[in-house]
Protein backbone atom coordinates (compact mmCIF):
# COMPACT_ATOMS: atom_id res chain seq x y z
CA UNK A 1 0.00 0.00 0.00
CA UNK A 2 2.82 2.40 0.91
CA UNK A 3 4.47 1.62 -2.42
CA UNK A 4 1.25 2.37 -4.28
CA UNK A 5 0.80 5.71 -2.48
CA UNK A 6 4.39 6.81 -3.16
CA UNK A 7 4.11 5.87 -6.81
CA UNK A 8 0.71 7.57 -7.18
CA UNK A 9 2.17 10.74 -5.66
CA UNK A 10 5.06 10.58 -8.12
CA UNK A 11 2.63 10.26 -11.03
CA UNK A 12 0.65 13.24 -9.74
CA UNK A 13 3.82 15.34 -9.48
CA UNK A 14 4.78 14.45 -13.05
CA UNK A 15 1.42 15.68 -14.29
CA UNK A 16 1.43 18.84 -12.22
CA UNK A 17 4.98 19.78 -13.22
CA UNK A 18 4.41 19.57 -16.96
CA UNK A 19 3.51 23.15 -17.91
CA UNK A 20 1.52 22.23 -21.02
CA UNK A 21 -0.51 19.72 -19.00
CA UNK A 22 -1.30 22.44 -16.47
CA UNK A 23 -2.36 24.84 -19.18
CA UNK A 24 -4.63 22.40 -21.02
CA UNK A 25 -6.05 21.00 -17.79
CA UNK A 26 -6.84 24.15 -15.86
CA UNK A 27 -6.33 27.39 -17.77
CA UNK A 28 -7.87 26.29 -21.06
CA UNK A 29 -11.27 25.07 -19.73
CA UNK A 30 -11.78 28.38 -17.90
CA UNK A 31 -10.73 30.31 -20.99
CA UNK A 32 -13.19 28.24 -23.04
CA UNK A 33 -16.04 29.08 -20.68
CA UNK A 34 -15.31 32.80 -20.88
CA UNK A 35 -15.10 32.74 -24.70
CA UNK A 36 -18.40 30.87 -24.99
CA UNK A 37 -19.88 33.42 -22.61
CA UNK A 38 -18.96 36.23 -24.99
CA UNK A 39 -20.39 34.61 -28.14
CA UNK A 40 -23.38 32.75 -26.66
CA UNK A 41 -24.23 34.73 -23.58
CA UNK A 42 -27.90 33.65 -23.40
CA UNK A 43 -27.15 29.95 -23.48
CA UNK A 44 -24.48 29.60 -20.82
CA UNK A 45 -26.61 27.68 -18.33
CA UNK A 46 -27.52 25.08 -20.95
CA UNK A 47 -23.95 25.14 -22.25
CA UNK A 48 -22.05 24.65 -18.96
CA UNK A 49 -22.77 20.90 -18.55
CA UNK A 50 -21.87 20.49 -22.23
CA UNK A 51 -18.52 22.21 -21.73
CA UNK A 52 -17.83 19.96 -18.73
CA UNK A 53 -18.37 16.85 -20.86
CA UNK A 54 -16.53 18.37 -23.82
CA UNK A 55 -13.57 19.00 -21.57
CA UNK A 56 -13.68 15.46 -20.17
CA UNK A 57 -13.71 14.23 -23.77
CA UNK A 58 -10.59 16.15 -24.79
CA UNK A 59 -8.94 15.18 -21.53
CA UNK A 60 -9.61 11.46 -22.03
CA UNK A 61 -9.05 11.25 -25.78
CA UNK A 62 -6.08 13.58 -26.11
CA UNK A 63 -4.14 14.86 -23.11
CA UNK A 64 -4.21 11.93 -20.69
CA UNK A 65 -3.54 9.36 -23.39
CA UNK A 66 -0.54 11.39 -24.55
CA UNK A 67 1.20 11.16 -21.16
CA UNK A 68 1.18 7.35 -21.19
CA UNK A 69 2.32 7.21 -24.82
CA UNK A 70 5.13 9.60 -23.96
CA UNK A 71 6.20 7.37 -21.06
CA UNK A 72 6.23 4.41 -23.41
CA UNK A 73 8.30 6.18 -26.05
CA UNK A 74 10.87 7.41 -23.54
CA UNK A 75 11.35 3.83 -22.30
CA UNK A 76 10.00 4.69 -18.86
CA UNK A 77 7.32 1.98 -18.99
CA UNK A 78 10.01 -0.55 -19.88
CA UNK A 79 12.16 0.63 -16.97
CA UNK A 80 9.19 0.35 -14.58
CA UNK A 81 8.34 -3.10 -15.89
CA UNK A 82 11.79 -4.29 -14.84
CA UNK A 83 10.91 -3.47 -11.21
CA UNK A 84 8.60 -5.63 -9.07
CA UNK A 85 5.81 -2.99 -9.31
CA UNK A 86 2.70 -4.93 -10.44
CA UNK A 87 1.14 -3.67 -13.69
CA UNK A 88 -2.19 -3.25 -11.87
CA UNK A 89 -0.61 -0.74 -9.50
CA UNK A 90 1.05 1.16 -12.33
CA UNK A 91 -2.20 1.55 -14.25
CA UNK A 92 -4.19 2.10 -11.06
CA UNK A 93 -1.99 5.03 -10.06
CA UNK A 94 -2.29 6.48 -13.56
CA UNK A 95 -6.07 6.14 -13.46
CA UNK A 96 -6.45 7.73 -10.02
CA UNK A 97 -4.27 10.71 -10.95
CA UNK A 98 -6.20 11.28 -14.15
CA UNK A 99 -9.57 10.97 -12.44
CA UNK A 100 -8.44 13.50 -9.88
CA UNK A 101 -7.36 15.92 -12.61
CA UNK A 102 -10.52 15.33 -14.66
CA UNK A 103 -12.79 15.89 -11.69
CA UNK A 104 -10.95 19.08 -10.70
CA UNK A 105 -11.52 20.45 -14.19
CA UNK A 106 -15.22 19.58 -14.09
CA UNK A 107 -15.62 21.35 -10.76
CA UNK A 108 -13.66 24.36 -12.06
CA UNK A 109 -15.97 24.75 -15.08
CA UNK A 110 -19.04 24.24 -12.90
CA UNK A 111 -17.76 26.97 -10.61
CA UNK A 112 -17.42 29.40 -13.52
CA UNK A 113 -20.97 28.48 -14.63
CA UNK A 114 -22.42 29.15 -11.20
CA UNK A 115 -20.38 32.23 -10.26
CA UNK A 116 -20.10 34.00 -13.62
CA UNK A 117 -23.29 32.89 -15.39
CA UNK A 118 -25.60 32.42 -12.41
CA UNK A 119 -26.34 28.78 -13.07
CA UNK A 120 -28.70 27.44 -10.38
CA UNK A 121 -27.24 24.34 -8.79
CA UNK A 122 -29.09 22.20 -6.24
CA UNK A 123 -27.53 19.75 -3.79
CA UNK A 124 -29.48 16.93 -5.48
CA UNK A 125 -28.05 18.04 -8.82
CA UNK A 126 -24.51 17.91 -7.43
CA UNK A 127 -25.02 14.48 -5.82
CA UNK A 128 -26.47 13.03 -9.03
CA UNK A 129 -24.24 14.95 -11.46
CA UNK A 130 -20.74 14.48 -10.02
CA UNK A 131 -20.75 10.65 -10.22
CA UNK A 132 -21.95 10.95 -13.83
CA UNK A 133 -19.07 13.32 -14.62
CA UNK A 134 -16.62 10.84 -13.07
CA UNK A 135 -18.14 7.87 -14.91
CA UNK A 136 -18.11 9.82 -18.18
CA UNK A 137 -14.47 10.84 -17.68
CA UNK A 138 -13.55 7.19 -17.05
CA UNK A 139 -15.31 6.11 -20.26
CA UNK A 140 -13.45 8.72 -22.32
CA UNK A 141 -10.18 7.74 -20.61
CA UNK A 142 -10.71 4.12 -21.70
CA UNK A 143 -11.53 5.26 -25.26
CA UNK A 144 -8.35 7.36 -25.24
CA UNK A 145 -6.34 4.25 -24.30
CA UNK A 146 -7.80 2.41 -27.30
CA UNK A 147 -6.71 5.27 -29.55
CA UNK A 148 -3.18 5.38 -28.11
CA UNK A 149 -2.96 1.59 -28.17
CA UNK A 150 -3.67 1.62 -31.91
CA UNK A 151 -1.35 4.55 -32.64
CA UNK A 152 2.25 3.75 -33.49
CA UNK A 153 3.58 7.04 -32.11
CA UNK A 154 2.68 9.82 -29.68
CA UNK A 155 2.10 12.28 -32.52
CA UNK A 156 -0.32 9.94 -34.29
CA UNK A 157 -2.20 9.27 -31.04
CA UNK A 158 -2.69 13.01 -30.51
CA UNK A 159 -3.83 13.56 -34.11
CA UNK A 160 -6.30 10.67 -34.00
CA UNK A 161 -7.63 11.76 -30.61
CA UNK A 162 -8.04 15.35 -31.83
CA UNK A 163 -9.91 14.23 -34.95
CA UNK A 164 -12.32 12.12 -32.91
CA UNK A 165 -12.73 14.96 -30.43
CA UNK A 166 -13.62 17.58 -33.04
CA UNK A 167 -15.87 15.10 -34.82
CA UNK A 168 -17.87 14.42 -31.68
CA UNK A 169 -17.78 18.03 -30.46
CA UNK A 170 -20.49 19.42 -32.76
CA UNK A 171 -22.81 16.43 -33.09
CA UNK A 172 -23.18 15.25 -29.50
CA UNK A 173 -25.53 17.89 -28.13
CA UNK A 174 -22.67 19.33 -26.09
CA UNK A 175 -22.33 22.90 -27.30
CA UNK A 176 -24.63 22.70 -30.30
CA UNK A 177 -28.27 21.51 -29.86
CA UNK A 178 -28.97 18.22 -31.62
CA UNK A 179 -32.31 19.61 -32.95
CA UNK A 180 -30.30 21.75 -35.42
CA UNK A 181 -28.71 18.70 -37.08
CA UNK A 182 -29.98 16.92 -40.24
CA UNK A 183 -32.57 14.22 -39.51
CA UNK A 184 -30.38 11.23 -40.45
CA UNK A 185 -27.66 12.45 -38.08
CA UNK A 186 -30.21 12.96 -35.31
CA UNK A 187 -31.14 9.29 -35.52
CA UNK A 188 -27.50 8.10 -35.22
CA UNK A 189 -26.13 10.47 -32.60
CA UNK A 190 -27.96 8.95 -29.58
CA UNK A 191 -25.72 5.89 -29.92
CA UNK A 192 -22.52 7.88 -29.44
CA UNK A 193 -20.86 7.70 -26.04
CA UNK A 194 -20.40 11.46 -25.86
CA UNK A 195 -24.14 12.02 -26.39
CA UNK A 196 -25.04 9.53 -23.66
CA UNK A 197 -22.70 11.22 -21.18
CA UNK A 198 -24.03 14.72 -21.91
CA UNK A 199 -27.60 13.58 -21.28
CA UNK A 200 -26.54 11.91 -18.02
CA UNK A 201 -24.74 15.04 -16.82
CA UNK A 202 -26.97 17.88 -18.05
CA UNK A 203 -30.33 17.00 -16.48
CA UNK A 204 -29.00 16.62 -12.93
CA UNK A 205 -26.92 19.81 -13.08
CA UNK A 206 -29.73 21.93 -14.52
CA UNK A 207 -32.84 20.38 -12.96
CA UNK A 208 -31.58 18.23 -10.09
CA UNK A 209 -33.13 15.07 -11.60
CA UNK A 210 -32.04 12.32 -13.98
CA UNK A 211 -33.32 12.56 -17.56
CA UNK A 212 -36.20 10.26 -18.48
CA UNK A 213 -34.10 7.93 -20.65
CA UNK A 214 -31.23 7.62 -18.15
CA UNK A 215 -31.22 3.78 -17.94
CA UNK A 216 -30.55 3.51 -21.67
CA UNK A 217 -27.83 6.17 -21.62
CA UNK A 218 -26.18 4.69 -18.54
CA UNK A 219 -26.19 1.19 -20.08
CA UNK A 220 -24.79 2.58 -23.34
CA UNK A 221 -22.01 4.42 -21.53
CA UNK A 222 -21.18 1.33 -19.44
CA UNK A 223 -21.07 -0.80 -22.61
CA UNK A 224 -18.63 1.62 -24.26
CA UNK A 225 -16.50 1.75 -21.12
CA UNK A 226 -16.36 -2.03 -20.81
CA UNK A 227 -15.62 -2.65 -24.47
CA UNK A 228 -12.94 0.08 -24.53
CA UNK A 229 -11.30 -1.30 -21.38
CA UNK A 230 -11.17 -4.81 -22.82
CA UNK A 231 -9.76 -3.63 -26.14
CA UNK A 232 -7.29 -1.26 -24.47
CA UNK A 233 -5.94 -4.01 -22.22
CA UNK A 234 -5.40 -6.23 -25.27
CA UNK A 235 -3.63 -3.43 -27.12
CA UNK A 236 -1.52 -2.31 -24.17
CA UNK A 237 2.22 -2.35 -24.89
CA UNK A 238 5.18 -1.74 -22.59
CA UNK A 239 7.62 -1.12 -25.42
CA UNK A 240 7.46 1.27 -28.34
CA UNK A 241 6.77 -0.47 -31.66
CA UNK A 242 10.05 -1.60 -33.20
Amino acid sequence: MQRFLIFTKAMLLIHLRAREVLFWNFAFPVFLMLIYGVIMSGFMQWLTPGVIVLNALSFGLVSSAAVLVDMREKGILRRLRATPLPAVQLLGAYLIVNLLLGLTQGVLILLVGVVVYGMPLSLAGLVLGLPMIVAGALTFLALGQVVSGLAPKAGVATAAGMTLYFGLMFISDMIFPIAQLPAWLQSVVPYFPSYAVVQLVRAPLLDGVLAANWPFNLALMAAYALAATLIASRLFRWDPKA
Binding site: I6, A10, R17, G75, I76, R78, R79, T83, P84, A242
Partner: protein, 316 residues
Amino acid sequence: MTQASIDLDHVTAVYGRGARRQPAVRDVSLAVQPGEIFGLLGPNGAGKSTLLACVEGLHQPESGTVRVGGFDVQRQPAAAKRLLGIQLQKTALLDDLTVGELVEVYAALYEVYLTPAQTGEFLARFDLSEHRRKLARRLSGGQQQRLALALAVTNDPQIVLLDEPTSALDPHARRSVWDNIRRMHDEHRTIVLTTHAMEEAEALCGRVAIIDQGRIVACDTPAQLVAGLKANPVLKATIELPLEQARSLPGVQAARYAGLHLELETAEPQLTLTALHSLAGQMGRSINDVRLRQPNLEDVFLKLTGRTLLEGPSLN
Protein backbone atom coordinates in the same frame (compact mmCIF):
# COMPACT_ATOMS: atom_id res chain seq x y z
CA MET B 1 28.61 -25.89 -4.56
CA THR B 2 27.32 -22.35 -4.35
CA GLN B 3 24.34 -21.33 -6.43
CA ALA B 4 25.04 -19.28 -9.53
CA SER B 5 23.73 -15.69 -9.44
CA ILE B 6 22.59 -15.98 -13.03
CA ASP B 7 22.16 -19.20 -14.93
CA LEU B 8 21.22 -19.35 -18.61
CA ASP B 9 20.47 -22.76 -20.05
CA HIS B 10 20.31 -23.05 -23.85
CA VAL B 11 18.60 -19.68 -24.26
CA THR B 12 17.42 -18.63 -27.70
CA ALA B 13 15.65 -15.29 -28.18
CA VAL B 14 14.13 -13.95 -31.36
CA TYR B 15 12.36 -10.85 -32.65
CA GLY B 16 9.44 -11.01 -35.07
CA ARG B 17 7.60 -14.03 -36.38
CA GLY B 18 7.31 -16.07 -39.55
CA ALA B 19 9.30 -14.62 -42.41
CA ARG B 20 10.45 -11.69 -40.25
CA ARG B 21 11.80 -13.97 -37.51
CA GLN B 22 15.23 -12.75 -36.51
CA PRO B 23 17.26 -14.59 -33.89
CA ALA B 24 19.08 -12.19 -31.54
CA VAL B 25 20.43 -14.76 -29.08
CA ARG B 26 21.29 -18.30 -30.23
CA ASP B 27 21.52 -21.18 -27.80
CA VAL B 28 23.45 -19.40 -25.07
CA SER B 29 24.39 -21.25 -21.88
CA LEU B 30 26.19 -19.30 -19.21
CA ALA B 31 26.60 -19.17 -15.42
CA VAL B 32 27.65 -16.03 -13.55
CA GLN B 33 28.94 -16.70 -10.02
CA PRO B 34 28.30 -14.54 -6.95
CA GLY B 35 30.70 -11.60 -6.60
CA GLU B 36 31.89 -11.57 -10.22
CA ILE B 37 32.16 -8.60 -12.51
CA PHE B 38 31.15 -10.30 -15.71
CA GLY B 39 31.41 -8.59 -19.08
CA LEU B 40 29.45 -9.24 -22.26
CA LEU B 41 31.73 -7.91 -24.99
CA GLY B 42 30.65 -7.57 -28.59
CA PRO B 43 29.87 -5.06 -31.32
CA ASN B 44 26.53 -3.26 -31.61
CA GLY B 45 23.80 -5.67 -32.64
CA ALA B 46 25.58 -8.75 -31.33
CA GLY B 47 22.71 -9.61 -28.97
CA LYS B 48 24.14 -8.33 -25.66
CA SER B 49 21.13 -6.18 -24.75
CA THR B 50 18.64 -8.90 -25.70
CA LEU B 51 20.53 -11.34 -23.51
CA LEU B 52 20.26 -8.89 -20.59
CA ALA B 53 16.56 -8.30 -21.38
CA CYS B 54 15.98 -12.06 -21.00
CA VAL B 55 17.56 -11.90 -17.53
CA GLU B 56 15.56 -8.78 -16.62
CA GLY B 57 12.29 -10.46 -17.62
CA LEU B 58 11.74 -7.87 -20.37
CA HIS B 59 12.08 -10.35 -23.22
CA GLN B 60 10.64 -13.84 -23.22
CA PRO B 61 13.11 -16.35 -24.67
CA GLU B 62 11.82 -18.58 -27.44
CA SER B 63 13.43 -21.53 -25.70
CA GLY B 64 15.69 -22.27 -22.76
CA THR B 65 15.50 -21.13 -19.15
CA VAL B 66 16.94 -18.15 -17.30
CA ARG B 67 17.39 -18.34 -13.55
CA VAL B 68 18.25 -15.45 -11.23
CA GLY B 69 19.34 -16.54 -7.75
CA GLY B 70 17.65 -19.87 -8.49
CA PHE B 71 14.31 -18.29 -9.51
CA ASP B 72 13.01 -18.97 -13.00
CA VAL B 73 12.56 -15.50 -14.53
CA GLN B 74 9.51 -16.54 -16.56
CA ARG B 75 7.76 -18.49 -13.81
CA GLN B 76 8.69 -16.42 -10.74
CA PRO B 77 9.28 -12.96 -12.19
CA ALA B 78 8.54 -11.01 -9.01
CA ALA B 79 11.03 -13.00 -6.92
CA ALA B 80 13.70 -12.71 -9.63
CA LYS B 81 13.18 -8.97 -10.15
CA ARG B 82 13.60 -8.34 -6.43
CA LEU B 83 17.19 -9.63 -6.55
CA LEU B 84 18.11 -7.44 -9.50
CA GLY B 85 19.23 -3.86 -9.82
CA ILE B 86 19.14 -2.64 -13.38
CA GLN B 87 20.24 0.16 -15.63
CA LEU B 88 18.96 0.14 -19.19
CA GLN B 89 20.79 1.50 -22.21
CA LYS B 90 18.26 4.32 -22.44
CA THR B 91 18.40 6.03 -19.04
CA ALA B 92 14.59 6.57 -19.18
CA LEU B 93 14.22 8.61 -16.00
CA LEU B 94 10.94 10.10 -14.86
CA ASP B 95 12.56 13.44 -15.62
CA ASP B 96 9.93 15.68 -14.04
CA LEU B 97 10.96 14.31 -10.64
CA THR B 98 13.90 15.63 -8.65
CA VAL B 99 16.98 13.52 -8.04
CA GLY B 100 15.98 12.97 -4.40
CA GLU B 101 12.41 12.03 -5.31
CA LEU B 102 13.61 9.56 -7.95
CA VAL B 103 15.80 7.74 -5.43
CA GLU B 104 12.92 7.48 -2.97
CA VAL B 105 10.41 6.37 -5.63
CA TYR B 106 12.68 3.71 -7.14
CA ALA B 107 13.48 2.32 -3.68
CA ALA B 108 9.74 2.25 -2.92
CA LEU B 109 9.05 0.26 -6.10
CA TYR B 110 11.04 -2.52 -4.39
CA GLU B 111 9.23 -1.84 -1.12
CA VAL B 112 12.34 -0.27 0.39
CA TYR B 113 11.35 2.94 2.16
CA LEU B 114 14.13 5.47 2.70
CA THR B 115 14.10 8.21 5.33
CA PRO B 116 15.25 11.66 4.12
CA ALA B 117 18.54 11.08 5.97
CA GLN B 118 19.07 7.73 4.22
CA THR B 119 18.33 9.34 0.86
CA GLY B 120 20.94 12.00 1.65
CA GLU B 121 23.57 9.39 2.50
CA PHE B 122 22.75 7.45 -0.64
CA LEU B 123 23.11 10.53 -2.88
CA ALA B 124 26.42 11.41 -1.23
CA ARG B 125 27.80 8.00 -2.19
CA PHE B 126 27.12 8.80 -5.84
CA ASP B 127 28.37 12.36 -5.58
CA LEU B 128 24.88 13.71 -6.34
CA SER B 129 24.16 15.54 -3.06
CA GLU B 130 24.26 19.02 -4.55
CA HIS B 131 21.67 18.01 -7.18
CA ARG B 132 19.14 16.55 -4.75
CA ARG B 133 16.47 19.18 -5.44
CA LYS B 134 17.17 19.49 -9.16
CA LEU B 135 14.80 17.98 -11.73
CA ALA B 136 16.38 14.98 -13.46
CA ARG B 137 15.87 16.68 -16.85
CA ARG B 138 18.22 19.49 -15.78
CA LEU B 139 21.20 17.17 -15.20
CA SER B 140 24.06 16.80 -17.70
CA GLY B 141 24.42 13.53 -19.63
CA GLY B 142 27.15 12.27 -17.30
CA GLN B 143 25.14 13.18 -14.21
CA GLN B 144 22.06 11.40 -15.60
CA GLN B 145 24.15 8.31 -16.24
CA ARG B 146 25.44 8.43 -12.66
CA LEU B 147 21.87 8.83 -11.40
CA ALA B 148 20.72 5.85 -13.51
CA LEU B 149 23.55 3.86 -11.93
CA ALA B 150 22.50 5.00 -8.45
CA LEU B 151 18.88 4.04 -9.16
CA ALA B 152 20.09 0.54 -10.04
CA VAL B 153 21.10 -0.05 -6.40
CA THR B 154 18.42 1.81 -4.39
CA ASN B 155 16.96 -1.62 -3.53
CA ASP B 156 20.34 -2.95 -2.32
CA PRO B 157 20.32 -5.73 -4.94
CA GLN B 158 22.56 -8.83 -4.93
CA ILE B 159 22.92 -8.65 -8.68
CA VAL B 160 23.36 -5.53 -10.83
CA LEU B 161 22.81 -5.54 -14.61
CA LEU B 162 24.31 -2.61 -16.51
CA ASP B 163 23.64 -2.14 -20.22
CA GLU B 164 26.37 -0.04 -21.85
CA PRO B 165 26.96 1.99 -18.68
CA THR B 166 29.57 4.28 -20.23
CA SER B 167 28.58 4.60 -23.88
CA ALA B 168 28.56 8.22 -25.07
CA LEU B 169 30.38 9.46 -21.95
CA ASP B 170 33.53 11.59 -21.98
CA PRO B 171 36.65 10.00 -20.43
CA HIS B 172 36.23 11.81 -17.12
CA ALA B 173 32.60 10.74 -16.66
CA ARG B 174 33.56 7.24 -17.73
CA ARG B 175 36.22 7.03 -14.97
CA SER B 176 33.65 8.11 -12.42
CA VAL B 177 31.22 5.40 -13.58
CA TRP B 178 34.02 2.83 -13.42
CA ASP B 179 34.77 3.87 -9.82
CA ASN B 180 31.11 3.41 -8.93
CA ILE B 181 31.02 -0.03 -10.54
CA ARG B 182 34.14 -1.07 -8.62
CA ARG B 183 32.52 0.09 -5.41
CA MET B 184 29.42 -2.00 -6.16
CA HIS B 185 31.82 -4.92 -6.55
CA ASP B 186 33.42 -4.09 -3.17
CA GLU B 187 29.91 -4.20 -1.70
CA HIS B 188 29.85 -7.90 -2.73
CA ARG B 189 27.34 -7.47 -5.53
CA THR B 190 27.43 -9.58 -8.66
CA ILE B 191 27.75 -7.33 -11.70
CA VAL B 192 27.01 -8.10 -15.33
CA LEU B 193 27.73 -5.35 -17.82
CA THR B 194 27.63 -5.07 -21.58
CA THR B 195 30.21 -3.10 -23.51
CA HIS B 196 31.68 -2.79 -26.96
CA ALA B 197 34.86 -1.22 -25.58
CA MET B 198 37.61 -3.75 -24.99
CA GLU B 199 39.49 -1.44 -22.62
CA GLU B 200 36.40 -1.27 -20.42
CA ALA B 201 36.12 -5.06 -20.31
CA GLU B 202 39.84 -5.32 -19.50
CA ALA B 203 39.72 -2.63 -16.81
CA LEU B 204 36.66 -3.92 -14.95
CA CYS B 205 35.79 -7.52 -15.66
CA GLY B 206 37.01 -10.67 -13.94
CA ARG B 207 35.51 -12.73 -16.76
CA VAL B 208 34.41 -11.79 -20.23
CA ALA B 209 32.11 -13.52 -22.68
CA ILE B 210 32.72 -12.50 -26.27
CA ILE B 211 29.45 -12.37 -28.19
CA ASP B 212 29.07 -12.35 -31.94
CA GLN B 213 25.82 -12.73 -33.88
CA GLY B 214 23.95 -13.99 -30.83
CA ARG B 215 26.48 -16.65 -29.87
CA ILE B 216 29.11 -16.77 -27.16
CA VAL B 217 32.32 -17.47 -29.06
CA ALA B 218 34.65 -17.39 -26.05
CA CYS B 219 34.35 -16.99 -22.27
CA ASP B 220 37.25 -16.63 -19.84
CA THR B 221 39.33 -14.11 -17.88
CA PRO B 222 40.69 -11.33 -20.11
CA ALA B 223 44.26 -12.56 -19.45
CA GLN B 224 43.41 -16.15 -20.43
CA LEU B 225 41.59 -15.03 -23.54
CA VAL B 226 44.62 -13.02 -24.65
CA ALA B 227 47.05 -15.79 -23.66
CA GLY B 228 44.98 -18.22 -25.73
CA LEU B 229 45.84 -16.19 -28.81
CA LYS B 230 49.50 -17.12 -28.44
CA ALA B 231 50.21 -13.83 -30.18
CA ASN B 232 53.42 -11.89 -29.72
CA PRO B 233 53.73 -8.27 -28.64
CA VAL B 234 54.39 -5.84 -31.46
CA LEU B 235 57.25 -3.36 -31.28
CA LYS B 236 56.57 -0.24 -33.30
CA ALA B 237 59.27 2.25 -34.21
CA THR B 238 59.70 5.01 -36.72
CA ILE B 239 62.89 4.18 -38.56
CA GLU B 240 64.01 3.50 -42.09
CA LEU B 241 65.49 0.06 -42.30
CA PRO B 242 65.55 -2.67 -44.97
CA LEU B 243 62.98 -5.33 -44.00
CA GLU B 244 65.46 -8.23 -44.42
CA GLN B 245 67.68 -6.65 -41.82
CA ALA B 246 64.73 -6.07 -39.47
CA ARG B 247 63.67 -9.71 -39.82
CA SER B 248 67.09 -10.93 -38.79
CA LEU B 249 66.99 -9.12 -35.44
CA PRO B 250 66.86 -11.47 -32.42
CA GLY B 251 63.35 -12.54 -31.32
CA VAL B 252 61.61 -11.14 -34.41
CA GLN B 253 58.95 -13.42 -35.90
CA ALA B 254 57.61 -11.05 -38.55
CA ALA B 255 58.35 -7.55 -39.80
CA ARG B 256 56.34 -5.13 -41.90
CA TYR B 257 55.88 -1.45 -42.56
CA ALA B 258 52.65 0.34 -41.71
CA GLY B 259 53.21 3.77 -43.22
CA LEU B 260 56.42 5.09 -41.71
CA HIS B 261 56.20 2.73 -38.75
CA LEU B 262 58.23 -0.42 -38.68
CA GLU B 263 56.20 -3.13 -36.91
CA LEU B 264 58.08 -6.06 -35.43
CA GLU B 265 56.27 -9.03 -33.95
CA THR B 266 58.65 -10.30 -31.32
CA ALA B 267 58.79 -12.98 -28.66
CA GLU B 268 61.60 -11.08 -26.93
CA PRO B 269 60.78 -7.37 -27.01
CA GLN B 270 63.69 -6.42 -24.71
CA LEU B 271 66.32 -8.18 -26.84
CA THR B 272 64.82 -6.94 -30.09
CA LEU B 273 64.78 -3.33 -28.91
CA THR B 274 68.39 -3.44 -27.75
CA ALA B 275 69.51 -4.97 -31.06
CA LEU B 276 67.45 -2.44 -33.01
CA HIS B 277 69.20 0.39 -31.14
CA SER B 278 72.69 -0.83 -31.89
CA LEU B 279 71.82 -1.54 -35.53
CA ALA B 280 70.43 1.98 -35.89
CA GLY B 281 73.62 3.35 -34.29
CA GLN B 282 75.86 1.43 -36.70
CA MET B 283 73.88 2.69 -39.70
CA GLY B 284 73.69 6.25 -38.41
CA ARG B 285 69.89 6.31 -38.42
CA SER B 286 67.68 7.73 -35.69
CA ILE B 287 64.79 5.93 -34.03
CA ASN B 288 61.72 7.95 -33.12
CA ASP B 289 58.54 7.13 -31.28
CA VAL B 290 59.12 3.61 -30.00
CA ARG B 291 56.05 1.77 -28.70
CA LEU B 292 55.34 -1.73 -27.47
CA ARG B 293 51.80 -2.99 -28.02
CA GLN B 294 50.63 -6.07 -26.10
CA PRO B 295 47.94 -8.23 -27.68
CA ASN B 296 44.50 -7.42 -26.21
CA LEU B 297 40.82 -8.43 -26.35
CA GLU B 298 40.42 -6.56 -29.62
CA ASP B 299 42.88 -9.02 -31.19
CA VAL B 300 40.97 -11.91 -29.62
CA PHE B 301 37.73 -10.67 -31.18
CA LEU B 302 39.44 -10.19 -34.55
CA LYS B 303 40.88 -13.69 -34.45
CA LEU B 304 37.57 -15.33 -33.46
CA THR B 305 35.25 -13.44 -35.80
CA GLY B 306 37.46 -12.01 -38.53
CA ARG B 307 36.11 -8.52 -37.74
CA THR B 308 36.88 -5.68 -35.35
CA LEU B 309 34.61 -4.63 -32.48
CA LEU B 310 33.78 -1.37 -34.21
CA GLU B 311 32.64 -2.97 -37.48
CA GLY B 312 29.42 -4.40 -36.16
CA PRO B 313 27.75 -7.59 -37.30
CA SER B 314 28.42 -8.89 -40.76
CA LEU B 315 25.41 -9.34 -43.00
CA ASN B 316 25.36 -13.01 -43.77
